[in-house]
């Protein structure tokens, strides 16, 4: 590609070497963690309809490893995918080696350590209970440090570059770095109680807003913006033609990062979040369609005149499907943010289908395409088997279809069943379980789709391994470029925008300001204006036993399948009781509204069933609800609750503003035992002998407390 415009006059050519070793390390991590993350996903896809597949092991239970799957897919698979792509493209776009090999290695090993710590802690129930932010406070600090190391290495590389202009991919990388830092730090403000336990400083509806501002933007700035940066670099490379419209990419970038940050509240529609915040979430989500589709068209149109290549080249096949999946997911997202659609989709498998179009299609296929392009290049050879790569493409593509279609079916079916009334005006499917057993065939088909997708990824692992074995690795790649002139004047007819786009630090600050606008407008009023969280006099702090039970509820991952948020629909208030009020959650650190109802809502579970029912149900759900797909939690009957940190927990709650009496931590244990003994005595009347210190007693106390503060009438049975 030749151009004739002299934008700068550099003549002194400098030689340097690109570091491919760090790229290769992240590539290996991407493939290995990708396969492991998918395997965990596959395990839970089977466990959801065969709960006994946990083999009675607590840490292998669905509710323990589902968060491991989500964290693994996002931070281990896509995370390492981001890093290998950034380390490869950034060096070439900046015409320089990465700033520091050492920082690169600290970043690599630090990130792998974080993943290993997640693999150990999350299944063991060491969790904050906040989705995609489950890691406890020491790991949160480590994430911050390692992220800063990555940021320094990246920004210093950009600063010492030999190319005046920062290509659009770099903008996406910078926005990713700064926004993820802001999101992670603000959402992870927590008060440690012990080395492995903390409480978020936010409670209830405020915690929900911060969490979903984080959660949604983890999708935006971890799964989307960095991958768009990769698309803008690797798609032109693979197609051997420049991006269709660079101007469109500029609009895509600024509009996307500005609008994305506002959209979080669409995860909380019909909740007790104030209406203004919900509406902002909806409005900005719909706006998102414009920049998202601008980006999708920019990607697809880059291939104009090259579609013949797409037929032949597995790399382009993967990239085309990835970009199409991006377009589909970003069309569906705004639709799901419309309240009337959300009323049907929320809490169902529709959401699971939606995110898998994104992660399997967009992130997965973009990663696979780039891997098939980059590995032969780094090993100076051809791909071991193009045929196998094509087979991977079709197996993976079919896998996605067979994964998502049944879940769309399941989600809509279940939601309509939840809302179905008889002609007499009562719920047609009053027993929640009926709506679950109805969709089990869909779960079975989904697991077939997942198996196909996983198989494809394994085939890729083999193909890449064979390619590596057959080539010779180019660890240090010779390159040369003229040094940037120290003094630089814009050419005549100055291009003003380059003032920003040629200066990384002002650019970073500009991106920070743009993403802070939406964040501040949504979050600050939630904390400053009292009317946003009305208080209810009848709502009292949890007793020490209930608080302990709540921590067990969080640790067991109950929130992965049960919501605690009754929406203001007749179908929900009839099934579960009065709709949720923000004042009910003011002592909930963290909030536990959940995002998926594989089981029924529990917001007003208290008093619905006797203690003995909960005892038997937790021991063996099928004994109380034949056909239930809830796993057995029989270890709760034999394990003791950890009471050593109970006083510290009470003190932490007092620090966070929960109105316990002064020095209550001194008597908390006495109150704990008194309440526990009451439940033990009640169970004894039902012929159950259990000791008061067992976890199940605390959990029953918590479940029986749920929603009772303002409960007025007993609703119909679920």
């Amino acid at each position: 590609m030749e151009h004739s415009v002299p934008l700068q006059s550099e003549t002194n050519l400098e030689s340097f070497r690109y570091d491919n070793k760090i790229v290769m390390l992240f590539i290996k991590a991407t493939v290995i963690w990708g396969i492991i993350g998918m395997l965990v996903g596959l395990t839970i896809a089977f466990q959801i309809y065969i709960p006994a597949l946990n083999f009675g092991i607590p840490w292998l239970t669905f509710s323990h490893i589902r968060p491991l799957h989500t964290n693994g897919a996002i931070f281990a698979f896509v995370g390492n995918g981001i890093f290998f792509g950034v380390y490869y493209s950034l060096q070439r776009l900046c015409k320089t080696r990465m700033y520091s090999d050492t920082l690169g290695l600290i970043h690599f090993w630090g990130w792998q350590l974080i993943i290993v710590l997640a693999v150990v802690t999350i299944p063991l129930g060491i969790t904050t209970g906040k989705e995609y932010a489950e890691l406890e406070w020491p790991i949160d600090i480590l994430i911050t440090l390692i992220w800063v190391v990555f940021g320094i290495n990246m920004m210093m590389t950009i600063i010492k570059r030999r190319e005046r202009h920062m290509y659009v991919a770099i903008w996406f990388y910078i926005a990713t770095f700064v926004t993820v830092a802001v999101l992670h730090i603000i959402n992870s403000v927590e008060l440690p109680v012990s080395l492995l336990k903390s409480y978020p400083v936010y409670a209830g509806v405020q915690d929900a807003l911060v969490q979903w501002w984080y959660g949604h933007n983890a999708v935006a700035f971890f799964l989307t913006t960095p991958y768009l940066g990769l698309m803008y670099y690797f798609l032109p490379k693979a197609a051997e033609r420049p991006i269709y419209s660079y101007k469109l990419s500029i609009i895509h970038f600024w509009a996307l990062i500005f609008i994305y940050i506002w959209a979080g509240p669409h995860h909380l529609l019909f909740s007790s979040l104030p209406d203004w915040a919900q509406s902002l979430g909806t409005v900005f989500s719909i706006m998102l369609l414009a920049p998202s589709w601008g980006g999708m068209f920019n990607g697809l149109l880059t291939l104009r005149g090259a579609w013949d290549k797409v037929r032949e080249d597995p790399v382009l096949k993967f990239l085309v499907v990835a970009i199409t999946a991006y377009g589909m997911a970003t069309f569906e997202g705004p639709m799901l943010a419309i309240k009337s659609v959300n009323a049907i989709s929320h809490f169902t498998d529709w959401t699971i289908a939606h995110v898998h179009v994104g992660v399997l299609g967009w992130n997965g296929f973009l990663t696979f395409g780039i891997l098939y392009w980059i590995v032969p290049k780094l090993f100076r050879t051809n791909l071991w088997s193009k045929k196998l790569a094509n087979a991977h493409f079709w197996i993976g593509f079919l896998g996605i279809i067979i994964y998502v279609v049944p879940l769309y079916w399941a989600g809509i079916t279940q939601s309509l069943m939840w809302k179905q009334f008889t002609s007499d005006g009562i719920l047609q499917y009053a027993n929640f379980l009926e709506t679950v057993t109805q969709i089990i065939p869909m779960y079975i088909i989904r697991s077939v789709g997942g198996t196909l997708y996983f198989t494809g990824a394994v085939l890729m692992g083999v193909n890449l391994y064979k390619t590596m074995r057959g080539g010779s690795f180019l660890a240090e790649e010779e390159a040369s470029a003229p040094a940037l002139a120290k003094s630089y004047r814009e050419p005549s007819g100055a291009i003003k925008h380059r003032i920003l786009e040629a200066k990384p630090i002002p650019f970073l600050i500009a991106a920070l300001i743009v993403i802070l606008i939406g964040s501040v407008v949504e979050i600050v009023p939630m904390f400053l204006i009292k009317t946003n969280v009305s208080t209810i006099a009848a709502v009292k702090p949890y007793t020490p036993l209930e608080l302990t039970g709540r921590d067990i509820y969080v640790a067991e991952g109950c929130y992965t399948c049960h919501s605690q948020l009754i929406r203001p629909f007749r179908s929900e208030t009839m099934r579960y009781g009065d709709y949720a009020k923000s004042g009910e959650f003011v002592y909930d650190h963290p909030f536990q509204w959940g995002s998926k109802r594989t089981g029924p809502d529990l917001e007003r579970e208290g008093g619905r069933f006797p203690n003995s029912w909960h005892y038997f149900h937790l021991d063996d759900p099928q004994s109380m609800s034949p056909g239930s797909i809830m796993p057995r939690f029989k270890w709760l009957l034999v394990d003791d609750a950890d009471l050593s940190i109970l006083p510290a927990k009470i003190n932490a709650m007092i620090t966070l503003g929960v109105p316990y009496p002064q020095n209550y931590s001194n008597v908390a244990l006495t109150d704990y035992n008194t309440q526990a003994n009451t439940i033990v005595a009640d169970l004894k009347n039902s012929g159950i002998i259990v000791q008061p210190q067992k976890k199940i007693i605390a959990l029953i106390a918590y479940l029986q407390r749920l929603g009772t503060d303002i409960k007025v009438t007993k609703p119909a049975p679920k």
Binding site: M1, E2, H3, S4, V5, P6, L7, Q8, S89, R92, L93, E163, H165, Y167, V168, A169, Y232, Y233, P236, K237, P242, I243, Y246, K247, I250, I251, W254, A255, F258, I259, D275, W276, S279, L280, V283, F284, M287, A290, A481, P482, G493, I495, K496, H497, R498, I517, V524, P525, L528, I529, T531
Partner: protein
């Protein structure tokens, strides 16, 4: 005082108008910004992923 101002303006009617203005304002700004870019510069910038993009 800041809290009072917030309490008073935080009604959805106003928020709706503000978000509409922000949305169009943002797009208008970006469009103006993009339109003013020199075509030759765009050709240069879009060629950056390729090796031969120097301007000697």
């Amino acid at each position: 005082m800041f809290k009072q101002i917030l309490e008073n303006i935080w009604t959805f009617e106003l928020l709706g108008i503000i978000s509409l203005i922000i949305f169009f304002g943002m797009f208008v700004l970006i469009f103006v910004y993009v339109i003013k870019i020199d075509k030759k510069f765009i050709d240069y910038a879009s060629s950056l992923p390729f090796e031969k993009n120097n301007f000697e």
